[in-house]
């Protein structure tokens, strides 16, 4: 038996079908993700250095860095006494390093090598005195400093590193 369906009915059926499709399709379950951020303390690269060297350690490492050989026991003893005789250790270290810099046996990179490849010089200097690589900011600052000061010598750079706070800690 054939049933006559008017055009209005067809329109209604299609509308319901479309609504139903939309309805069913909207009921699909989707995973909902919430992303959280854990608090992380950002620390400087040198933050693990929280112990002061003993004066003997400091002198021993300093001497080795500047002369490329170990300090002798008698020389160490005299250096320790000299350091102990001055209350302000920054002044004592400044004078000690100044004295070493006056020694013709001190081993320093040439100024030319620093000028030729400042990045390598900075990296080597950080590695020698701080036993780490410089951060990008440190690297850029040092390179800019070297390049903007024609009179700067490797001696002054070494002096600054040798008498800085980080060099006294490990």
């Amino acid at each position: 038996m054939n049933t006559l369906i008017s055009g209005k009915h067809v329109f209604r059926i299609l509308t319901f079908a479309l609504f139903g499709m939309i309805l069913f399709s909207s009921c699909e379950v989707e995973d909902y993700y919430v992303y959280g951020i854990n608090d992380i303390e950002i620390t400087p690269v040198n933050s693990e250095k929280d112990k002061a060297k003993t004066e003997a350690q400091y002198i021993s490492i300093l001497y080795t860095n500047l002369f490329q050989k170990a300090i002798g026991p008698n020389q160490m003893l005299e250096a320790l006494k000299a350091i102990e005789s001055i209350g302000d250790k920054q002044i004592a270290f400044d004078m000690l390093v100044s004295k070493y810099m006056n020694d013709p046996a001190v081993v320093l990179p040439t100024d030319e090598s620093m000028r030729e490849n400042p990045e390598q010089f900075v990296r080597d200097t950080y590695s020698r005195f701080y036993v780490r690589q410089p951060t990008e900011a440190e690297l850029q600052w040092m390179i800019n400093y070297i390049e903007s000061r024609p009179a700067l010598t490797t001696e002054l750079v070494y002096f600054s590193f040798a008498t800085s706070n980080e060099h006294f800690h490990y």
């Binding site: 250096a79 002044i91 000690l96 004295k99 006056n102 951060t135 400093y145 002054l156 980080e166």
Partner: protein, 451 residues
């Protein structure tokens, strides 16, 4: 009579202080501060362990060796005739082969006890009679029974009080030490959490700094040009230190500012030159470490004109095994103090404006030990259970201090080893604020309040 005069003048000064509040360089103003009595103070720790018998009692060999010879071998500090027999405390008489046979000529025409006030019977009242313990009490005004070697004083030193409350610079405060042994380098600031290194005084052991260790490690150190090279170093170091700015993790500096640091380095350089060309200001006799140390101390006074200098001596301590050398060094310590006072009067600005305090750090035993020296004289230790080690003296001389005054006696002791810190605070107008911190020995008093 003189004491009355002193009290009257003190009262007038106090009245003036009430009506005219004094503003200290630190900015403190009010009831805690008074006008300073003295512009400069030099405190000599007449250390090494001095027996009353050979010092203020002037008994020479009479009590120490049971020989009937008395006399004063400290005639720069004390009035009294020297011994006339068995002279062994002076310079060696090489012609007649007599050890110590030539007494050293006095430096001062008038002994210091006649120029100032002597407290002949002071007490080192607590704690063990060890050198570091005594020195620590001298600079901190406190006793600590647990105070050990290799440990900074547990309560603030006078340097810290003066820097914190008086606004003194680091180079205003100096500890000039006879050496670096016995933890002496720890006496320039305390381990107290509220004070410590930021308020410490400068320290130098000049016979080491300018002796062999210093010559090998400091002499002829390089002079960087201050405006170019040194400035560059400072800039780079500042950058490097900024990247290592962790609390407490710094080289143990004493907060000398840049100018003070430069001045100290220049002083070291200049003094090396003087050592080399023999132009140091040394006492006429300078054959022991105490005398050389006092010579260097005069160089420090001339260069920095510090508000406070503490000097410690120690050669007297040879008494553990050599009584003759003890007498010689006691005589030389007096020579050193006389020389120091004379030189202070030659320094423009300090002359007439400096108060000097002298006090042993502790005494010495009444009973000898078994060790005899070349003269067959017995030696003396400083033991824990001997009341004689608690007997010391104090001497102060300077502007406004009565001359020839003796305060206290054997039967009526006056003064304590812990009194020097409040006395120095008093001299700088800071007595009340220092006392108010409650970190002094409870019985400590300014010597002015003991009169």
């Amino acid at each position: 009579m003189k004491r009355r005069k002193f009290i009257a003048s003190s009262t007038l000064a106090s009245a003036g202080a009430i009506t005219m509040p004094y503003v200290l360089p630190s900015g403190l103003l009010g009831a805690f501060t008074k006008p300073p009595i003295s512009e400069y103070v030099v405190f000599v720790l007449f250390a090494g362990g001095v027996r009353q018998q050979e010092s203020v009692l002037q008994r020479y060999l009479a009590e120490g060796q049971n020989e009937d010879v008395e006399g004063n071998i400290m005639y720069n500090m004390l009035a009294g005739a020297p011994p006339i027999d068995k002279i062994a405390y002076g310079q060696d008489d090489t012609v007649n082969d007599i050890i110590g046979g030539i007494p050293i000529n006095p430096i001062l025409q008038t002994p210091l006890d006649q120029l100032g006030t002597l407290f002949p019977e002071v007490r080192f009242s607590k704690g063990g009679a060890g050198h570091f313990s005594g020195l620590s009490t001298g600079v901190s005004g406190n006793y600590y029974s647990t105070q050990g070697l290799r440990q900074r004083p547990l309560s603030p030193t006078i340097f810290e009080y003066l820097r914190r409350y008086g606004g003194f610079k680091a180079t205003d405060c100096w500890f000039v030490s006879v050496g670096i042994t016995g933890s002496r380098p720890l006496l320039n600031y305390s381990a107290h959490a509220d004070y410590g290194r930021p308020y410490g005084g400068n320290f130098i052991a000049p016979t080491v700094t300018f002796g062999t260790p210093g010559m090998k490690n400091y002499q002829d150190f390089k002079n960087y040009h201050p405006d170019t090279e040194w400035q560059t170093i400072l800039e780079m170091r500042e950058f490097l230190n900024q990247n290592f700015a962790q609390p407490g993790l710094e080289i143990a500096h004493l907060y000398n500012d840049v100018n003070e640091e430069d001045s100290i380095k220049e002083f070291v350089k200049s003094t090396f030159e003087k050592v080399e060309n023999g132009s140091l200001i040394l006492p006429p006799v300078n054959d022991n470490t105490d005398l050389k140390t006092v010579g260097y101390a005069v160089e420090v006074l001339n260069w920095f004109k510090p508000k406070l200098m503490v000097i410690d001596l120690s050669n007297i301590d040879v008494c553990h095994g050599d009584y003759t050398s003890y007498l010689k060094n006691l005589h030389r310590a007096d020579h050193a103090v006389g020389f120091l006072w004379r030189e202070i009067q030659r320094i423009p600005g300090m002359a007439g404006n400096t108060t000097m305090l002298v006090m042993p750090e502790h005494g010495r035993d009444l009973d000898h030990n078994p060790i005899k020296d070349d003269n067959d004289w017995y030696s003396y230790d400083h033991s824990g259970n001997n009341e004689n080690v608690r007997r010391i003296f104090s001497l102060m001389v300077g502007p406004g201090i009565d001359g020839g005054l003796r305060v206290g006696s054997v039967d009526n002791p006056k003064g304590d080893a812990s009194d020097i810190v409040p006395t120095i605070a008093d001299l700088f107008g800071l007595k009340d604020i220092v006392a108010s911190k409650g970190l002094l020995e409870p019985t400590a008093r300014s010597l002015f309040d003991r009169m």
